[in-house]
Symmetry: C2
Subunit: 296 residues, 2 copies
Amino acid sequence: MDGFAKKRLDGLAGMVNSRLEEIKQKVLEKAGAQADIIEAMWYSLSAGGKRIRPVLVLEFCRICGENAEDALPAACALEMVHTFSLIHDDLPCMDNDDMRRGKPSCHKAFGEAQALLAGDALLNFAYEILAEDGNLSAETRVKLISELSKATGVMGMIGGQVIDTTYAGEFDEKLLLDMYSMKTGALLKAACKMGCISAGADKPLIEAAERYAEKLGLAFQIKDDILDMTADEKILGKPVGSDEKNGKRTYASLKGLEDSRRYAEKLTAEACGELERFPDNGFLKQLSGHLLSRNY
Amino acid sequence: MDGFAKKRLDGLAGMVNSRLEEIKQKVLEKAGAQADIIEAMWYSLSAGGKRIRPVLVLEFCRICGENAEDALPAACALEMVHTFSLIHDDLPCMDNDDMRRGKPSCHKAFGEAQALLAGDALLNFAYEILAEDGNLSAETRVKLISELSKATGVMGMIGGQVIDTTYAGEFDEKLLLDMYSMKTGALLKAACKMGCISAGADKPLIEAAERYAEKLGLAFQIKDDILDMTADEKILGKPVGSDEKNGKRTYASLKGLEDSRRYAEKLTAEACGELERFPDNGFLKQLSGHLLSRNY
């Protein structure tokens, strides 16, 4: 990424972080004995994630012709759902990961019961934020909630997690790609579409955003697989080799590193092609390339 | 309850059961490898609960002058949220209960990972159902989602669960009653209000429903405490004495059985007083009395 793109990425991520902090302060004002769980929720929410999903929400809203600010509720809701999934994925009955983003995972820091409830509360809060946002029309709010709930549910992210948990050792290429499309793809797709919806964009634009997200999501997941085999643990912020340790087949383990790299590059190029329909797409193209070349 | 009320209770619960079954079939049609999780979700959803919350939704819609059917999405969404909370409460890191409603609890039947995800999926699905319901206006859907999410979140049911988990051994009367009002009261209140909202009722009616629910919810929880000390395990469908075993202070253990019974009676009478504002309130009055005298 050039200096301009880096600055915009930081700017958009900063907008999300500020809004999340504002929401926390508002919730804390009303909270009594629930202050503990709010700390657990925001511990994970502020753990220095890349903020890719909320940045996509804001940027798609902007290139659809509206202010990025209009999409902040959708961006925060999406980051809450993403964080909920990380907290629950890390639990002992799931992946049993002690570290996340370079810090102890939520259940290591707050105990299992609080981590379970913090995840539940974040998922639920995403819908509260969208339903309560007075700046958007009721129609837009309903569209956003519908989009987010379908992307999160049994036909989306949670469904992908189910398949991952149940069949991880026996994947063939088709089931693996289906799982990726649900587990990672669905939420990235929701991010891009929710940005367009927040801007009141029309159907052809929303569909182009969806195709972009589909390809980007798959490239993103394959890159994750590659990093799990090759990354520097200190830079990645979590243990490497966990897929192999857990007996999980991934695209990279099925196809090899070289084929995986080439496929991720091809998908990223195709994703960028879908951006031609949007004006002022320079930042998104750079971001897509950056996700492909990242080492964390 | 007389024969008439018993018949109406069965009729309303039957409507909810049919709609839930319809929803399951629709989801299963689209599901591939996620069929397992759908079985886990409906295993708990169909485990023969009393259906008190969805029945309240339907009946409040009816006595506000609309068809009970109009409130079926809200009723099903609420039962999903209630069931999600039971599944997660039963997990080993929470109450670690092996039995629920006379059957093995969800994680005993499907494993911990699937139970965790089934709970997540039910919570999420509640919002999908409300957002997608084409029979209600966008405004009404947003009001329902807002009501449900606030009742479920850190200031409602989940917040009550947090306080219960963190402070159960040290409750004084005030914190205990606050916890009851969140953990049980919030969702019962949401049930009554969502029935009114589904009917498009005006504010004074919604507020009367809220006051009714507040009193009924507290009576309901105190009755639960009494049953945990006195019930027949076979009729209750879950182990008795679990509060004492887990070192939990309850209203009944703080105040004694006799005072608790008297207070629950007084609250139920006051709750019924709030129903005077509604026409055709006979069934709800009988249901309230039935909840007080139940032995399960």
